[in-house]
Symmetry: C2
Subunit: 137 residues, 2 copies
DNA sequence: GTATTAATGCAACTTACTTGCATTATAATC
DNA sequence: GATTATAATGCAAGTAAGTTGCATTAATAC
């Protein structure tokens, strides 16, 4: 039996507030990265009307616990998604701004090439595609 | 004989100001993307003490003329580099913040895969590696 | 040299996010 | 269930990067 994030946090001694569980639930049920502002608005819709500062602070906390990942797109706002999903990247519609997950098979070759070509100790990478989605074409 | 950016802009009827030519010269001689703030400081050092607003406006102009590219790294500030360099990506040292160009041969396979896997009309992509550079290891 | 208007400087504004501090609420202990 | 310690919260103020309005300056055409 796998432990939920909430149970995990609780057993680590962190308090389970309504904001905390609502944000985790929201991100778990959202299949694409979302911004602090969207989190704030969506929480309000669900009846968890928490201050935007609390949203930012909770994001900081969930990042520190490695429960979520920060995603920098070609946008003014940062996006966040659950960290326990399998490694993937994103494709963004420049028209309707939709963000979709993207699994890339040939990625390994790329990483191998960069690792052998540079003298860097590579820790992460970011790969995002931009274009027009089927609906907007 | 190939026309310089300055000559090109002049023949298109744009004025050649000291800020304009200094920024083009600076970006041409900088082998990595730099921020508006760095441009501002470096211009001052060279004796072209222009207002930061002018730097931002000149960046807008050079972007609109497709003379420079905007680069979004995992950072609070945007970076810019000359657009006439051959297609490449970047590797960033998470320690000393150095940014280096990165040419990737296996990139074509990646693009082909994404093009055939998605129904998107892809226009651009962004690919950046993060790690520790040889000097910082 | 004069005229036209692109480019500039400065101040004020905006947006995304952060910080300080007084208050509230979670959860452990009694 | 009440008491307590302190994590989490709300609100106001602050910050940093970038933008905008407007009066002034300067590049180029004539
Ligand atoms: Mn995703
Ligand atoms: Mn480059
Ligand atoms: Zn779309
Ligand atoms: Zn380094």
């Amino acid at each position: 039996m796998i432990k939920s994030h909430i149970n995990n946090l609780q057993s680590k001694g962190f308090r389970i507030t309504s904001a905390r569980s609502a944000i985790i639930n929201l991100l778990e049920s959202t299949p694409h990265p979302i911004t602090a502002n969207s989190i704030h608005k969506l929480l309000k819709k669900v009846g968890t009307d928490v201050n935007i500062t609390t949203v930012y602070r909770e994001i900081e906390f969930l990042l520190s616990q490695k429960i979520i990942n920060k995603i920098q797109l070609f946008d003014t706002e940062l996006h966040y998604e659950m960290a326990d999903r399998t490694h993937h990247h994103h494709i963004v519609c420049t028209d309707c701004k939709a963000i979709e997950d993207l699994k890339i098979d040939s990625e390994k070759d790329l990483l191998d090439e960069v690792c052998s070509d540079t003298r860097y100790k590579i820790s992460t990478h970011s790969l995002t595609f931009y274009g027009v989605c089927p609906a907007c074409k």
